[in-house]
Symmetry: C2
Subunit: 278 residues, 2 copies
């Protein structure tokens, strides 16, 4: 009873990679609804008014909790934001994009050492290890593994999703809106709803497989790899009526702190949240 | 043609949560092979000798690349380790568990700013923004979203997987073995293979849904929540012939740096990798 999936895995690969697409022949792979669903991922930022039922969220949370978590420590949480005014505050006060106010549901994925701290505190113990970079990384990775299960499960049901890294534009504001205690921070959000027919976003091409994937030892990127992707992405962006320039974007992101748009203060911000990442 | 999935979603929820399990009634959820696959996730550390074909890895990498990535920057890579001696070195030199030497394939997921740095360098530009905590976090989250797609796709095909956070026990050694340049680090690995019939690991119970998931604002954990989970997990561990003590484990992890087993040096280690996480 899940949403109908176009099972043409090789067509999905061509859409994902353009000219660099591998083509498969193994029937187990060609018949995989899972692969077909994942390969067709796109971000959705326009939703219909159709509600997302609470039972659906229950199922997505169960999928999220079923993902692996480092040493079964489960150092993540999720806050479901449905209230109209609360979603508007995420936009007005916490740096989320305007479309978030129109999404039926926003899931805030939290890197959460507050629960472990509370457990230790209840036994009269300290929580010093939460202050180290390793702990911050585990919280973010746990949250990401959980969120990705929720996203893929949602998409398999026909829902549309969009990750909201924008909620790291002001971690203090996001934490206040979500009511987070110390040692917890919103890692990112996920907007969720039924895709609006006017949503035109397609499957975004990615770097060719052999640019990202190497056998036995890492293969450095070549100028040819990058030029090829620049062309593939430009062709896609043209269909979306959007300018392109992946190389320019990457250079602007990595060159200096201007590429961080304020997030060069992330360590200071996380310190204020009780996660100094020492 | 994928592996047969037991579609009883409510039974899977009972296995995942024990007495705290929600039960669903929506036919779209009860009929979801995706949910059934995710809910039944378990870690697999014993594999048969059956090889994992290269075309399967191609499909898993395509699934991984189809996951969302922050601003389409794609700051992750994956190194596929098949060579017997190389997997043995991951155990002997990089801190991986012994079973990794017996896994047919190990995927090393890399938080990779080296590609962006190379692109910037090729244009005579610097790469200073790679040095900030925000960039480290994006690399780890990108790697985690990608890996989770690969893991779920693998499991849907009947493969078994196990995340290897152990590869952060010695990031310098892991990077050397994988041939990583500066500004790249192995975030974690994933061992992959066909589950051995003697693998007894089951579906590990998680915290009750309402402990991890709250509506509108974060709900702090209560002692009752934790005691209930302690019992549920103890009952599961008894079926595995293993001692239990989740509360003790959490306290030992968070109390002081002994819980980090050397990873209190993660920031220093990442600095050596060119990712100082300022």
């Amino acid at each position: 009873m899940s949403a109908p999936t176009d099972l043409d895995v090789n067509a999905a690969l061509r859409e994902r990679y353009g000219a660099a697409a591998p083509q498969l022949s193994d029937p187990a792979l060609l018949g995989s609804e899972m692969l077909a669903t994942m390969l067709r991922h796109r971000s959705v930022r326009r939703f219909t008014g159709r509600p997302v039922g609470p039972e659906t969220i229950t199922a997505l949370v169960a999928a999220a909790q079923s993902a692996a978590t480092s040493s079964n420590n489960q150092v993540w949480s999720v806050v479901e934001v449905r209230d109209d005014a609360a979603r508007q505050r995420l936009v007005a006060q916490a740096g989320a994009s305007a479309f978030v106010a129109e999404a039926p549901v926003v899931l805030l994925f939290v890197a959460d050492w507050a629960r472990a701290s509370a457990i230790a505190g209840g036994r009269g113990e300290a929580d010093e290890a939460a202050e180290y970079l390793e702990s911050t990384l585990v919280g973010f990775v746990d949250a990401a593994l959980a969120a990705q299960n929720a996203v893929v499960a949602a998409e398999s049901l026909g829902l549309g999703t969009c990750y909201l890294g924008s909620l790291r534009n002001d971690p203090a504001a996001a934490a206040t809106l979500a009511g987070l205690p110390a040692r917890a921070v919103v890692a990112f959000g996920v907007a969720l709803g039924w895709p609006h027919p006017d949503e035109t976003a397609g499957v975004k091409p990615r770097l060719a497989p052999d640019v990202v994937h190497s056998l036995e030892t890492y293969r450095p990127v070549s100028p040819r790899d990058i030029e090829a992707y620049e062309s593939t992405l430009a062709a896609y962006n043209a269909t979306q009526g959007r300018p392109s320039g992946w190389i320019r974007q990457i250079v602007a992101r990595v060159r200096d702190i201007r590429g961080l748009h304020g997030r060069e203060r992330m360590r200071e911000w996380l310190t204020d949240r009780g996660l100094p990442s020492r």
